[in-house]
Amino acid sequence: MTEKLIFESSREGRRATAQAPLRQTVDLPDHLRRNTPPLLPQVSELQTVRHFTRLSQMNFSIDTQVYPLGSCTMKYNPRACNTLAMLPGFLARHPLSHVSMGQGFLQTMHELQDMLKEVTGMKGVSLTPMAGAQGEFAGVAMIKAYHDARGDSHRNEILVPDAAHGTNPATAVMCGCKVVEIPTDDQGDVDLDELRKAVGPNTAGIMLTNPSTLGVFERHIEEVRGIVHDAGGLLYYDGANLNAILGKVRPGDMGFDVIHMNLHKTFSTPHGGGGPGSGAVGVGERLLPYMPIPVVGKDGDTYRWLDEKDIPGTIGRLSAFMGNAGVLLRAYIYMRMLGRDGMSRVSEYATLNANYVMVRLRDAGFDLAFPRRRASHEFIVSLKRQSRDLGVSAMDFAKSLLDYGFHAPTTYFPLLVPECLLIEPTETEAKEDLDGFVEAMIAILDESARDPEKVKGAPYTTPVRRLDDVKAARQLDLVFNPASVDA
């Protein structure tokens, strides 16, 4: 199954007439006018509906497949979160309309801030960052602002464990900092000796994911905190893995000064094929004066925006309005449906599922990256041995899984484990589906021994077979050129 480009269904003069007013004349000087119309397809409404419906069917998704993509928390996105966030009253609200016209919305945001404070153990929350990476940006910018305000402008080194997500070092640089990489020890914890060596008078802070992207809980978190705080640095918590510890341990209690949360992971707002997300930030006492604006405040019974006047030290605005409001609504609805007890259950069952799949794969002969550790909500299998012995790589396993109807785990991340698969089942998958995944892995392993070429040729059942990424990068073809078809 493949689908033509929509431009190939375009015909001069065709239109979905019900959708736009007829063109009137307009008062516009010639030098401002556009001469050639843009290349938007000229198609009917049915052609559009059919084209995009068919395209949608070419995707794997949570709603159709098990999707154990590590670090991404691909859990069920309750449908009510979507339909309720799309009620006409929420969609019709202009972001700059008078606060009296948005009390329903603002109340919801205020309650969300409060819930997130409780969940993280932080003192203040700003909902404005639009994804995890922007939350990281806000966090590091606040750390910088804190040091600057204390006259410590030289503090511009951000420590980042080598297992960290790519956004961590990239963020540090965007905030004008230098990155100091900290190695991981053989049990997946931060190498404390190296950390001690790395800290110093220029230390601005450390960015830590806990549990780390290696799928294990940083057991020496209290020592890490001590070392960094003693050196005058602050602790940043990358909340991408909050799903693993919800209701069990709180970043604020671990001593972190700032945290971002990927609401599109832990709080199940949909990933939308790439976004939108939300990277709300929580801060401790020290960083309260620097929070990104706007924040929602409450005066008596009235909710209102807090801005530069209320938070004069703010690192500023990260978006024209208040970030991904609609995503925040979805997270709020989800959190209310989970409730207090449901939150703890999330981490419990996510952890149960991960550990179960881990032991089953181990028992089936797969190598774990950290066989002596508990899995958090995810864990790593390394296919280094298979790659060496059978010539079948982690990528081949990933593509083969697609033929078994499973989305692949995260591949080749974290970079420090060779031929790795980072597997995160999430709490919303049922045992029999986990068993199905394990059986597929075993079947591929068997097949790799019997007929490795077959595995290397996978996938076979997807709309296209393995794509040539090298060609894609070398012979760049990034936009459709109608002339190329006529030729």
């Binding site: 493949t2 689908e3 480009l5 736009a20 007013p21 307009v26 008062d27 001469n35 843009p38 938007l40 397809p41 000229q42 409404e45 559009t48 395209l55 069917q57 998704s61 709603d63 159709t64 009510a80 009620l87 006409p88 009253g89 019709a92 202009h94 972001p95 700059l96 016209m101 329903g104 919305f105 990476a133 922007q134 940006f137 910018a141 956004t167 069990k248 209690d253 949909p270 939308g272 094929g273 790439g274 990260l318 978006s319 024209a320 409001a325 609609g326 609805i333 449906m337 409730g339 207090r340 449901g342 939150m343 069952y349 149960l352 049922a430 709309p463 077979r465 794509l467 073809d477 936009v479």
Partner: protein, 459 residues
């Protein structure tokens, strides 16, 4: 257990397989002292039925007012098909298309989106979205620094006719990397950037000039002259444009002799609801030569093992997950689903439909200007054309007028008096194609009443 499928038997079997006695034991690597026992501050769970009632009430409370505010978020008619299709589970609940073979739907759609945006802006290539228009401008400034090898200053000229919030966001996003944003004043009499004001910087090392078109005050800038001015000084041109307007007006790629270098802006007008300001999406396009400096995802067309056409993420070496601290940006999750909506929207409208929307917006705003110019105590700030926003000057403070209009369920515009004190009691209004003659007349009447009442109180 909401959303958790485990039966007691499942749990028993799984614990046994793992070799522990309880789920709690799985958390035994967490230092005991740090453990909390639940989250008492979070309310008890409610079922879907209860939360449905709560949210229906809150949404109904906020209602569906008659909106005459634009200022970066525009109320347009959105065909029902757009979100009916974009929220199909296969689009909605998929991740970033890392496994290309299992994500051809999203990938092909992004390729189509890139084509549309590149063409709409008259440039060569597009990325797959940024967070929003304002942060896209910040990223565009950083990109200009990377792309402009001739300039070492990091100085970016930003006219005051650019959205004030965009100016703030650009500084917040890009300011930490040593960029200097210089605000340039405009001609207060006609609301556009004064070429003469630029001359003050004629001899400096400039990295880029930002040109908004239409500008924040709804006016058209002299983009050809401005572009040529910048290029003559080896400064790059960053266009900040409204995509709806581009169905009608000259695209950045055709500005001046050589065209703008980078175009960016807010994609929300392309089928995304106002929704309190987000999720929207930023778009960014540029010349082919600078594609390797682009932030964000980019999709390319290629072939599979059998020679069939397919689509995949490409040029990933620019991105954080490969390049880490040397990436062009830290952006990872973007605004994918909004792009899905926008691509469907643009397909349903086509060039002709989008031009129809743009003309209706221009004419409706012209009509608002006409109606308001006959209201006592209201004056139109600038003579001559505008796109779909216009500045009104009141003879009384703006805030209480807006409050009165709000009580009539009219979102009556944006108060400019704090950001543009030189314009006095200025109000920015906007009328898109969604406004009927009746709406505009109602707005006119309500404005007349509100201004009279506020002016009366003052006296």
């Amino acid at each position: 257990m909401a959303f958790i499928p485990h039966t007691d038997a499942d749990v028993r079997d799984m614990l046994q397989a793992i070799g522990v006695d309880s789920i709690d034991q799985l958390f035994d690597e967490i230092p005991q002292a740090l453990r909390v026992d639940g989250l008492k501050g979070v309310p008890e769970a409610v079922g879907e039925m209860e939360i449905t009632r709560i949210m229906h009430k809150r949404a109904a409370r906020d209602g569906e007012p008659l909106t005459f505010i634009g200022a970066g978020a525009y109320e347009h008619h959105i065909p029902a098909a757009v979100w009916e299709i974009a929220t199909r589970g296969e689009f909605y609940s998929a991740y970033t298309p890392y496994q290309a073979e299992a994500s051809q739907g999203t990938l092909q759609l992004i390729y189509e989106f890139q084509t549309m945006m590149a063409s709409l802006t008259g440039l060569d290539v597009s990325n797959a979205s940024m967070y929003d228009g304002a942060s896209a401008l910040g990223e565009a400034a950083l990109m200009a620094v990377r792309a402009n090898r001739k300039s070492r200053s990091g100085k970016i000229l930003m006219p005051r006719t650019l959205h004030p919030l965009y100016r703030k966001v650009a500084k917040a996003v890009a300011g930490n990397q040593g960029l200097e944003f210089i605000e340039v004043d405009y001609d207060h009499a006609n609301g556009t950037l004064d070429l003469k004001a630029l001359e003050a910087y004629a001899d400096e090392d400039l990295t880029a000039l930002v040109i908004p078109q239409p500008n924040f005050l709804g006016r058209f800038e002299d983009v050809d002259a401005l572009t040529d001015w910048a290029h003559a000084r080896d400064a790059q041109v960053i266009a900040v444009v409204n995509p709806t307007s581009l169905a009608l007006i000259k695209p950045p790629g055709e500005w001046g002799e050589k065209g703008a270098d980078i175009a960016c802006g807010e994609g929300q007008p392309l089928g995304v609801p106002m929704s309190s300001g987000g999720p929207f999406f930023g778009f960014m396009t540029c010349r082919q030569s600078w594609v390797r400096q682009m932030p964000g995802r980019i999709v390319g067309r290629t072939t599979d093992l059998d020679g069939r056409t397919g689509y995949t993420l490409t040029l990933q070496a620019r991105e954080q997950h490969i390049r880490r601290s040397k990436a062009t940006s830290n952006i990872c999750t973007n605004q994918g689903l909004m792009v899905t909506g926008a691509t469907i929207y643009m397909s349903l409208l086509g060039a002709e439909g989008l031009a129809g929307v743009a003309t209706a917006c221009m004419n409706n705003t012209a009509r608002v200007v006409e109606v308001m110019s006959s209201v006592d105590g209201v004056e139109v700030a600038f003579a001559g054309g505008q796109f779909h926003e216009a500045v009104l000057k009141l003879d009384c403070p703006v805030a209480p007028v807006l409050e009165r209009l709000a009580a009539e369920d009219i979102a009556g515009g944006l108060d400019l008096s704090a950001e543009y004190p030189e314009l006095g009691n200025a109000l920015l209004v906007c009328a898109t194609e969604t406004k009927s003659e009746d709406d505009i007349v109602r707005f006119g009447k309500a404005m007349a009443d509100a201004v009279a009442a506020v002016a009366g109180e003052k006296r």
